[in-house]
């Protein structure tokens, strides 16, 4: 199974979430600040407009009707005071009902049509400059306009824009960060499921942890666990069947072997002896194979079973092997030696004995008479190890990678092995999280050394 390791994968949930979340959030922030801007602008404009109306009304109130027509009864200084602004230029204009300019600036355009007593605000141009105009029509029909340049209004627009946009951008940035980390945190349980799945060995059929999975993927995990349970079940059945079959085979084989051996002791003619001897060899092979199949089934089964894990002294494992194998070594005229130190590994004693038995069986099988086989155990750089070396012909370079495969036999080798011994060694080593190393030289100066290195000891037994 391949899972995307990075956020950029097209199928990534994180990417999909962020692709939706980030543009939506940005749009939301922008429309909110636009709305703020228009509302604030409207409020500010009407406030400035009201203050622009005051000089227009003052002007209108100071128009006197003389014999020669209407006249503005305000001194120059008073006019200037009315129109004073520290930022903008203000101009005024008074027109008679007919449209003739009575006082003020000629360059202001004609006001819109107003009823007496009505007032109006509008944008206009004064000598090419944009201006805001307040226009009033007095009860006696005169038009009074006051126009003002847009400096302070523009400044206010920028201030509102700045005041609105900067926080909005800050909020947008913060939201982005929150969304990014939030999505990451929200997806953390998925990541933990992914780690669980990637970290397990192919043989590990334990259910995934359902307690820490979020509700959204719980059904998927449950389905996966059901599948794993079914697999485990059928695996177990297969192993039980194999173990049972092998177990049932052993007793009749032991009886058969015994009778053939007894028969071989009696007086037989040469031809019959050869035949019975062949049957005896075949029976011994069959028993050996039954034992190995059983060992393989047990090694696989216990990969699933942590109860058989206890601290085991490799010295004790090797010590038992001394008694098991010394007679066979003597019979084959092989010098069996031991260099042992106490060292502890966590595991299954029966399987470790099986491992050593198979290494020794292999070594004794392929070492010529007069050779030597040495078992070593101890601690190297904090790691317990167990090794068996022989003075046999060595394993050809090309076969070295394959000797741990089931039923693989190096071509041209003597003996009657089924090719299961080293497969059992590999299975048991894996079960103990140990590594396998094969050092071998071919030819007369040959020899093979197989080293099993265990994980650093967790505990030391006094």
């Amino acid at each position: 199974m391949r899972l995307p390791s990075r956020f950029g994968h097209p199928g990534s949930i994180r990417r999909r979430l962020l692709l939706f979340l980030i543009p939506s959030l940005l749009l939301l922030v922008l429309s909110a600040s636009a709305l703020t801007y228009f509302v604030a602008l409207h409020v500010a404009t009407s406030a400035y407009d009201r203050s622009l109306l005051d000089p227009a009304l003052d002007m209108a109130a100071n128009v006197r009707m003389d014999s020669d027509g209407p006249r503005l009864a305000l001194l120059k200084q008073a006019q200037e005071a009315l129109l004073y602004d520290h930022e903008d230029t203000l101009v005024f204009q008074i027109r008679a009902p007919g449209g003739a300019v009575i006082a003020g600036d000629d360059d202001l355009n004609l006001p819109p049509n107003l009823q007496p007593g009505e007032r109006s605000f509008f944008d206009s141009l004064y000598r090419g400059q944009p201006v805001r105009v307040a226009a009033v029509r007095s009860d006696n029909g005169l038009y009074v306009q006051v126009a003002e340049t847009l400096h302070k209004r523009n400044r206010l627009i920028w201030e509102i824009l700045a005041a609105g946009l900067v926080p909005a951008l800050l909020i947008a940035t913060a939201t982005f960060v929150v969304a990014w980390t939030g999505v990451a945190r929200g997806l953390a349980p998925l990541a933990s499921v992914r780690t669980q799945l990637l970290g397990r060995s192919p043989q590990d059929l334990h259910p995934l942890d359902e307690h820490r999975t979020p509700d959204e993927i719980a059904p998927a995990i449950e389905a996966l666990n059901r599948l794993l349970a079914q697999l485990r079940e059928s695996n177990d059945m297969q192993q039980r069947f194999l173990a049972n079959a092998a177990h049932q085979l052993r007793t009749p084989l032991a009886g058969l072997q015994m009778h053939l051996e007894l028969l071989l002791r009696s007086k037989l003619d040469a031809e019959l002896r050869d035949e019975i001897s062949g049957m005896h060899v075949a029976t011994v092979r069959a028993s050996h194979l039954a034992n190995q199949l059983l060992a393989l089934a047990k090694a696989e089964a216990s990969a699933d079973d942590s109860t058989s894990s206890a601290p085991i002294d490799l010295f004790a494992v090797a010590d038992r092997a001394v008694h098991e194998w010394v007679q066979r070594a003597i019979a084959r005229d092989i010098d069996l030696g031991f260099v042992l130190e106490h060292t502890y590994v966590t595991g299954d004693a029966a399987l470790l004995e099986e491992l050593l038995d198979n290494l020794l069986d292999n070594a004794l099988r392929y070492t010529p008479r007069g050779g030597a086989v040495t078992v070593r155990c101890g601690t190297e750089l904090g790691h317990p190890y167990l090794s068996v070396e022989d003075t046999g012909p060595g394993i050809p370079e090309a076969a070295r990678g394959r000797v741990f495969e089931r039923f693989y036999r190096v071509q041209g080798t003597p003996g009657d092995g089924a090719g299961l011994g080293l497969a059992i060694v590999k299975e048991v080593a894996q079960r103990h999280r140990a590594t396998l190393q094969v050092e071998s030289r071919e030819g007369s100066a040959g020899g093979t050394r197989i080293v099993i290195r265990f994980p650093a000891a967790a505990l030391e037994i006094a």
């Binding site: 052993r250 007793t251 072997q257 015994m258 009778h259 031991f338």
Partner: protein, 224 residues
């Protein structure tokens, strides 16, 4: 000697009975645990060959009941090769030795001989190959000619003869001989073993060295 074979597989049991009978023992055979228990209550056996997997009560229970009655019969347990727990459990319950199935006739004979020799060792003279040992008189004859052994060599000879066919580690030898001497170094043991070896060599008894581990009293050739 009187031997009881407790084995439910008839083919294997027949073979065991035949081997034991040919060696000159009086052999009885039963197939179930309850029959075995009954037989063991009725008669005193020198050796019991006990299979663990029996149809009714298992071999452990038979053994447990036997030892509860303070029987000193030698018990050789037959177990499956992969059943380490069985082996350990059997020895804990008082089995004297075990053999894993399948085994060769020679292997079985060697174990039986070793166990029965244990029975006979304290009684006067014992013969192994050309070696005749009078335990009480502490005298040894090699092919009829008396040989002199030192105290430590004698202790070593006794130790080997009490556990024939077994590999004795140097640690065990040092432990057993410590009664006679202060701490013994592995080198000292090598010296004693090689002296004893040279004195009894002519009798056809070999003390084999298991490199890096210890020694094996190999009387199989001589006794066969």
């Amino acid at each position: 000697m009187r031997v009881l074979v407790i084995e439910d597989d008839s083919l294997l049991a027949q073979g065991l009975v035949r081997v034991l009978a040919r060696a000159g023992h009086a052999v009885d055979r039963v197939e179930t645990g309850l029959q075995a228990d009954k037989a063991l209550r009725a008669a005193a056996y020198d050796l019991v060959v006990l299979d663990i997997g029996l149809p009714d009560i298992d071999g452990f229970e038979v053994l447990r009941r036997l030892r509860l009655r303070h029987s000193t019969a030698n018990v050789l347990v037959l177990t499956a090769r992969d059943a380490v727990e069985d082996r350990v459990h059997g020895l804990d319950l008082g089995a004297d030795d075990y053999l894993t199935k399948p085994f060769s006739v020679t292997e079985f004979e060697a174990r039986v001989r070793a166990l029965l020799r244990r029975v006979s060792l304290p009684a006067g003279a014992v013969s192994v190959g050309g070696l005749t040992v009078h335990v009480e008189a502490k005298s040894v004859r090699c092919n009829g000619a008396p040989i002199d052994l030192t105290v430590r060599e004698w202790a070593l000879l006794e130790l080997f003869m009490s556990r024939p066919g077994r590999v004795l580690s140097k640690e065990l030898i040092a432990q057993q001989l410590a009664d006679y001497d202060a701490q013994l170094s592995p080198n000292a043991i090598e010296v004693y073993v090689s002296r004893l070896r040279s004195k009894i060599e002519a009798a056809g008894v070999r003390i084999r060295t298991v490199r890096g581990f210890g020694y094996l009293w190999d009387a199989t050739d001589a006794a066969a």
